[in-house]
Subunit: 127 residues, 2 copies
């Protein structure tokens, strides 16, 4: 195995699978080409953690738009995050789009069927 | 207190406060003037219960539109209900509108602050 292949392999392993890890992805990589499209992945932490992530991503990159993504039980947290951010912190923030969907998740250990999990995407836009 | 005032008072008291009571409101009153605007209130039961309510309300009143309303942790169930209904049962059902909001709830016993609860409304439309 060459050195390059090894690095690719490592990258694959690092790919976050759990929701709780996901939001670090956004804060880790603000220097990529996707600056214009801010995304905050919502996991199992309290809404306030994600409110902070939303505020940070809006002010740091000076972007006008941020998208919250969540699935399963974190959907409620995503709605809470959007509502707390725009009611308590950034008053001119508008909910410009909400879409829902379904994702197929691999079966848990001991189960033999893939699970269907609902997802939500909430886009917040600053005037 | 006149008889009429008494009735109004009783009505106020009957207003459902808990989520788990709410969905009965819809099934109880299909003969009111709000037939065109079907609403299913989502509570703490499994999504399948509400999927059935959505299918029933669409076929019984021959309506083209149904609105799912939920708050707090039931928001996830509302999204699940919408997704299961349109993916597994009524294929030509479209998500025509989603809106989120915040409601003030009375404080729980032992607490002295009102709680803010997130809400969601999902409107499904049949072609």
């Amino acid at each position: 195995m060459t050195e390059k292949e090894k690095t690719t392999e490592e990258k694959k392993e690092k790919k976050p699978v759990e929701e709780t890890v996901k939001e670090e992805k956004t804060t880790e990589a603000p220097q990529t080409q996707r600056v214009a499209q801010n995304t905050v992945f919502i996991g199992g932490k309290p809404p306030m953690n994600y409110v902070l992530a939303v505020i940070t991503s809006l002010s740091a990159s000076n972007a006008k738009k941020v998208t919250l993504k969540a699935r399963g039980r974190a959907i409620t947290t995503a709605v809470d995050t959007a509502e707390i951010t725009r009611r308590r912190f950034i008053k001119d923030l508008k909910v410009s789009n909400i879409s829902i969907g379904t994702e197929e998740m691999p079966a848990r250990e001991g189960e033999n069927r893939t699970r269907m999990v609902s997802t939500i995407e909430i886009t917040l836009t600053k005037d």
